[in-house]
């Protein structure tokens, strides 16, 4: 049975989506490409760097704006569609544009985990506090995990045969 794990965050891309979980001893990354799930584990013992940064999603903003403009132009070319455009399309596009502007204003927060040979990234749309909480949690867990062992801990002892 799989270890109990907590969902930390996710990232959606054109090529697929990524879910990042935290288990007792590792950060697990499930990269879903189509219908195959590829799982990578970054052991907390092997975490080298954690980073937190914010970036406005300009790519998404311009893509949505271009698509909306194209649809409006194509549909609006025909006079018969003017009513449909005014009553339905324009309000929907206005809402979408407003959401897009808000995403740019608030930005997307990314938390990145660097292991020895792998990397995991989580995106938080308009959830800066959640991103900060996840970052602090990971820093705390990695620090605890990588703390030097106590001097009194003994190594493996040979088994005695009676």
């Amino acid at each position: 049975m799989a270890d109990r794990r907590t969902l930390l965050g996710r990232e959606f891309r054109l090529a697929g989506r990524t879910y990042v979980f935290l288990t007792a001893d590792a950060v697990e990354v499930d990269d879903i490409d189509g219908f195959d799930v590829v799982r990578t584990r970054v052991l907390l013992d092997d975490v080298m760097q954690l980073s937190l940064h914010k970036r406005p999603p300009w790519g998404l903003f311009w893509t949505v704006l271009l698509v909306m403009t194209f649809i409006l132009l194509v549909v609006g070319l025909f006079p018969a569609n003017r009513g449909f455009v005014l009553r339905f399309l324009l309000p929907v596009f206005a809402l979408s544009l407003a959401a897009n502007v808000m995403r740019v204003v608030f930005g997307v927060h990314y938390v990145t985990v660097f292991g020895r040979r792998s990397k995991a990234r989580m995106a938080f749309y308009m959830r800066g506090r959640k991103a900060r909480a996840v970052f602090d949690l990971l820093v705390e867990r990695v620090t605890q995990r990588q703390a030097p062992p106590s001097e009194s801990s003994a190594g493996d002892q040979p088994l005695a045969v009676s």
Binding site: V38, R116, D156, A160
Partner: protein
């Protein structure tokens, strides 16, 4: 996103900008804020994990049991799966248990070890996709049963491997697939009956 299947996964070489990937060559404090040349400002926490070393095996001494694979090494534990004695070189700690190399290979090949699993098929996601596409009129007679089969396969995977990804979607796909099949079957039957009469 780098995965185990990606070729040439370069080792971590030092503080790296998470946006552009540029390695920051100047020494950084373990905690702080950095401004990269790509104009990206980020907060960084650096760690210095202990280098990976294995404990040296102890030589077998009178009164101590030898390792099953290395007769000159003293056994420090017995495999929790097969019971064989193993030295510190053979011992693999996984999921809170110490197992020998042979058992680790066998368990990871069979998919029993969750921590060693590197990939699996998302049957619940397949069931969901089939159920959604099956909403298209007349497609449900074929896609509905397939969605049900995929959802059952996902349920079987959950019992066997403990992977519960997309469980709710699979349940919805199960119900939807069943309804689609009967709905499409009734529609086809009605059309055929109407055409014949």
């Amino acid at each position: 996103m780098e995965t185990l299947t990606s070729p040439r996964r370069a080792a971590y070489a030092g503080p790296t900008c998470p946006q552009c990937g540029t390695r920051y060559r100047e020494p950084l404090p373990d905690r702080g804020r950095v401004l990269c040349s790509c104009e990206q400002r980020y907060e960084v926490a650096l760690f210095h994990p202990r280098p990976m070393t294995s404990a040296p095996a102890q030589a077998v001494a009178p009164g101590s049991a030898p390792c099953a694979r290395h007769a000159h090494n003293a056994a420090v534990a017995s495999c929790e799966h097969c019971g064989a004695f193993m030295c510190s070189l053979c011992r693999i700690d996984v999921e809170g248990a110490g197992v020998c190399a042979a058992c680790f290979e066998r368990l990871s090949a069979s998919g029993t070890l969750a921590s060693a699993r590197v990939g699996f098929r998302n049957y619940n996601g397949i069931a969901w996709m089939l159920a959604v596409v099956g909403l298209v009129p007349f497609f449900g007679v074929l896609l509905g049963p397939l969605a049900v089969l995929a959802a059952l396969k996902g349920r079987q995977q959950e019992r066997k491997l403990g992977e519960s990804m997309g469980r709710r979607r699979a349940l919805v796909a199960l119900v939807l697939g069943t309804l689609e099949f009967f709905g499409a079957a009734v529609t086809w039957f009605a059309l055929v009956s109407g055409a014949m009469s």
